[in-house]
Amino acid sequence: MKKSLLTVLCLCMAVSVFAGGSKEKAASDSDKLVIYASDSFLSEWGPAPVVFPIFEKKYGIKIESRQVGSTGEIVNLAIMNKENQTADIIIGADNNLLSTVLKNDILVPYKPEGIEKVKDDLLFDKTYHLIPYDYSFFALVYDSNKIKNPPKSLDDLLKPEYKKSLIVMDPRTSSPGLGFLMWTVKCKGEGYKEYWKKLMPNILTVSEGWSSGYGLFTSGEAPMVISYTTSPAYHVEYDKIDNIKTVLFDDGNYMQTEGVGILKGAPHMEAAKKFMDFILSEDFQSEIPLTNWMYPVIDIPMPDSYKSAPVSDKPLLLDAEDIDKNLDSWLDGWLKSTMAK
Amino acid sequence: MKLKLENIKISYPGKFTLNADLELKQGEFHTFLGPSGCGKTTLLRIIAGFNTPDSGRIYLDGKDITDLPPEKRSISIVFQDYALFPNMNVEKNIAYGPETQHWPKDKIKTRTKELLEAVELPGYEKRKIETLSGGEKQRIALARAIAVNPALLLLDEPLSAADEKLKASLKAQIVETHRKNKLTTIYVTHDQEEAMTISDRISVFRRGNIECTGTPQEIYFKPKTLYTAKFVGQSNIIEGTVSSAGDLVEVRCTQGQIFKVQNRSYKYSAGDRVTLFFRPECCTAANGTEDNIIKGRIVDRIFYGRFYTCTVQTPMGLLTVYDTYPFHMDMAECSLTVSPDDIILFSE
């Protein structure tokens, strides 16, 4: 008994050491594409498992993806590897990261086929380094069973009836958190600090990431959470419930547009260009709503569930230069306001 | 020659340096005797192969085994703390050696059974080690050590943890085992009585050196050094000066007492300072005609059953004598004698 157990263990050991090495055969260089993407994009429930095979089949190019973590970390890695770039494509750098990307000169501009189909106000990079592939709005998401009278504006949100009812994310560690901070900066200007001070009594907790914050919301801790206008669509599509709703604010909603770009020094430039074209094709775009839970950037028929995900007609955006210059001081101001208590 | 130690040297800086030359005959039961920390266990471990000597060679059955690892020496060892494998039962412990040598299964089984009978623990095969008493553990350790018929059996203070009664029975067990198997055995102990009763020959250790080697009788009655004489048994020691040396040496001690001693070496001449040594049992009551009459007074008597140990006040100091049954000495003045044959001289 003992011996057989140990034999099995030793076998496992041998397998574990050798299995990994033998399987990964390097595909020949010309028909390969290396992609940096965020964890959520590459996740089993994200777009990658659906759209990558379509691309591979269509062009006969094998995709090798490298997940790095959040989008911020991807950009970091691309910058660190600048001198010795091994990847071709970077997916997920959003409008907030644009100035970082441009300043560090890690991308080459490319105007993909079909760019004309993209709505003009979504082209957040007029130099074509980052091409948008999806977008959404940060928004208040609430449970209509508990909140009968949802706030209609940032100021509404300060009402005492929402005491300890809101979950937000830390802008230092999460992109919806940062988006909400920018939203307040955009609307309130320097008054954002005052706004946050007044908002604090209504905040139940500040989570480090969207996942844990939305998890708290899902488990019923608070009836309101900062998320995306597209969030309710998921619950309609899969949970078959319609009490999770979002509301468009009178002030407008801050927009997040995610982009994709070709890295400077990409070893597989031709394949990378094909991928950029693919991004704007219907094949790719039609998968975005139900996998990445964002809006597509071209006009295509939307799933029914997206009736619950209204598009803001008052998109808010801060200037990329501005963000780059002031981000640290905004974060500082936010920190001071929230810690004041 | 079964075992030969040739110029074995190992030094422990700050402690002692071990020097050993020794030969063991086939089937000999040899004891290393000495106080603790004198190097006897170290020498045993060198023979077993656990310690490597700085220099010197070890031969077993004429073969140089100095550089062989312990597992290739065919030398078994029994430790003071038994060192039975706690993870195996009795049978597995005894079978360990034979299994290592890939004996056939049924042969191992017979051997185990036979050994358990030999150590008077039949039917103990499946017992777990922690259920055994100290004496039982000792027997199993012995059985385990001899299971493979080793060329040499080493016993490192195997009885020191046992009580008196257990000691006696285990000692008998060891002697019996040795008698039956004719195994050449080295036995390490600090207990001289154990050494005397069990051994064919004894090596007395003193700070890393073998002081002398001999049969128990030689060691006891004709010790070659004063250290051995003092270490083994009880002794009477008197100092004096040689006054004349012929076939009998005459030694003058304090207060004019003269001792006549058989001259064995003819190396003494008049004027030499010497030490006289004799065992208590060599000292008997005098009837007045013998040589070497000592006058004294018994100042203390301790009863030991078959004999008294008497302490006698004499001009030369206190002497120890035995008064054997039937008793004839009182707590009073007495007159004793020692035969010149029984006195041994050591030079200073």
Binding site: Q67, G69, T205, G215, E221, N243, T338 | E71, P150
Partner: protein, 542 residues
């Protein structure tokens, strides 16, 4: 003996090389990249940084104190008494190790949150409109989460040492007229001090570096640790220098405690030389006055550790298309395990964890052998291996990215992942194995040698069986840490290779909250089963 030395030396080098490669190279890369005087000044000159340094220390100290204080009776009961379900309790208190922080947070929230089971029950009973129990989103909540993790850790560390106090010491003490209190101070306390100090140091380091628990349950940035700040700074390249400086500061703090941990472990080994085993008394045999508090404590411990996990399990059966906890019973989330996306992470986790166990145990054996042969250097050896505890996972992650970018190629992800997990568990496994290794009776090995057994046979038949319990303990820790590890798995695993904790994160990220609960439940079940089996195996044959 001489002939075996060369290959042994070679073997000894493997763990050192491994750790240098997978730990020291990345960490040194980080420090080389950005560690500077300006960085340190910028950190220490920042009032916010100073404040979170203080808070990190404060909540760490509080958590440690509470974990030790509450865990102490538990260690006593497990060491002294036998009772039905003890094996299960022992397995259970190991399980929190595998729970990724996000799952632990959710478990606690689902239990005692505003909409948690307890509050809803109380509201139903009293008819109150507001949740009566409001402990979350405060320092209290942080402490609850930290004690949930660390009471078990404390018990797990202390009771095996306590259990080894020889009965004879107490008997000697009593024969000399010592009463219970005096016996405790003169016998028990000196014996377990090292284990208590070591586990406290470890708990402190873990709480000091705690990240998501502090942020979420604390309720916001007024309760924040240095780790959050490092994370924030490390996200953008322009701040890497400051991140490294803060990381360096954090490492410095942690190193102090790691040294205490190691030194205490060192002292413990001296005691273990004379270790015996105390007599375990059935709890039933005690008088009511003694057994009832003990039973109550065991019950409390059971609930405290198990309830957050049970709540996760409970949730995994609900939410059938409806919202909140009002959802009815469903097995939907479990039937989804028929899909590869769900069952692959299970297989992957088991595969990685088992590989980690094997690597960690083998390497620990080698290192234990080094320590036993080179006792003077053992402190250095341990510091060398234990330093990995002092480096935050974020800093290490940064190091990997920097190193990989310098290397220009990516090693096989699975091997890398096993290596990283192995490096992470080595401090624990070395401790467990070397403790038992140092207790091996040398004479047994010499006996085996003299009976003709070669080194390999001795290892197999004598040494391994004698340190079996150490190996099992090490195995449990390795399995637990590997199965629950998130950061390395997120960062290093190759495409399409997902472990269960990562899957939990992703499921929540993909709005699939209840499916995540199901995944968490399966993770917990696998671990409980594994630990229970290992525990039984360990006791049956020794």
């Amino acid at each position: 003996m001489k002939e075996t030395r060369l290959p042994l030396l070679f073997l000894f080098l493997i763990p050192f090389l491994l750790l240098i490669l997978f730990f020291y190279v990345p960490v040194i890369t980080v420090f080389m990249t950005g560690f500077s005087k300006e960085g340190l000044v910028s950190v220490l000159g920042d009032s916010y940084c100073r404040k979170i340094c203080l808070f990190s220390l404060e909540q760490g100290a509080l958590s440690t104190f509470l974990s030790a204080a509450i865990g102490f009776p538990g260690a006593y009961i497990l060491a002294k008494y036998t009772f039905r379900g003890k094996g299960f309790l022992k397995a259970l208190i190991t399980v929190p190790f595998v729970l990724p922080p996000i799952a632990a947070v959710l478990g606690i929230v689902l239990l005692i949150g505003n909409n948690g089971i307890i509050n809803r029950a109380l509201m139903a009973l009293t008819g109150a409109a507001e949740p009566p129990l409001k402990v979350l989103y405060s320092l209290k909540a942080i402490l609850i989460a930290h004690t949930f993790y660390n009471i078990p850790l404390f018990i797990r560390f202390v009771y095996p040492v306590w259990e080894k106090i020889p009965k004879s010491l107490y008997e000697a003490g009593r024969s000399l007229g010592a009463g219970k209190v005096r016996l405790f101070y003169t016998v028990t306390l000196p014996w377990i001090t090292s284990a208590v100090v070591a586990s406290c140091a470890l708990i402190f380091v873990e709480c000091f570096m705690s990240f998501s628990i502090v942020l979420v349950l604390g309720g916001g940035p007024q309760y924040s640790t240095m780790e959050v700040e490092i994370y924030k700074l490390a996200r953008t390249t322009s701040h890497i220098a400051k991140a490294c400086a803060l990381g360096g500061l954090e490492t410095l703090f942690a190193l102090v405690f790691i040294s205490i941990y190691t030194a205490a472990g060192h002292r413990e080994q001296r005691y273990s030389g004379s270790a015996g085993r105390n007599e375990e008394v059935p709890l039933k045999s005690l008088s009511m006055a003694h057994s009832i508090p003990a039973l109550l404590y065991v019950l409390f411990l059971l609930l405290y550790v198990a309830l957050p996990m049970v709540t996760i399990a409970f949730n995994s059966f609900t939410g059938n298309g409806r919202w909140g906890l009002s959802g009815g019973f469903t097995l939907n989330w479990y039937t989804s395990f028929a899909q590869p996306v769900m069952y692959r992470p299970v297989l992957n986790t088991v595969f990685i964890a088992v590989s980690t166990v094997i690597c960690a145990v083998l390497l620990s054996l080698v290192i234990a052998a080094v320590i036993s042969r080179w006792p003077k250097g053992s402190f250095l050896v341990q510091i060398f291996f234990f330093a990995s505890l002092a480096i935050s996972s974020i800093l290490l992650g940064l190091g990997y990215l920097l190193t990989i970018s310098k290397l220009g190629f990516r090693p096989n992800g699975k091997i890398l992942l096993v290596a990283v997990h192995t490096a992470a568990v080595l401090p624990f496994t070395i401790k467990a194995v070397s403790l038992f290794y140092s207790r091996i009776n040398r004479r047994c090995i010499e006996c085996a040698q003299s009976l003709g057994a070669r080194p390999l046979r001795i290892l197999w038949t004598v040494k391994l069986p004698m340190i079996k319990n150490g190996i099992f303990t090490a195995g449990i820790f390795a399995f637990a840490v590997s199965a629950g590890e998130v950061n390395g798995a997120l960062m290093l695993s190759p495409e399409g290779f997902t472990t269960m904790p990562v899957a939990i994160y992703r499921l929540i990220g993909a709005y699939r909250f209840y499916q995540a609960c199901a995944m968490g439940t399966v993770l917990l079940l696998i671990c409980i089963a594994a630990f229970y089996a290992i525990d039984r195996l360990g006791e049956v044959s020794l």
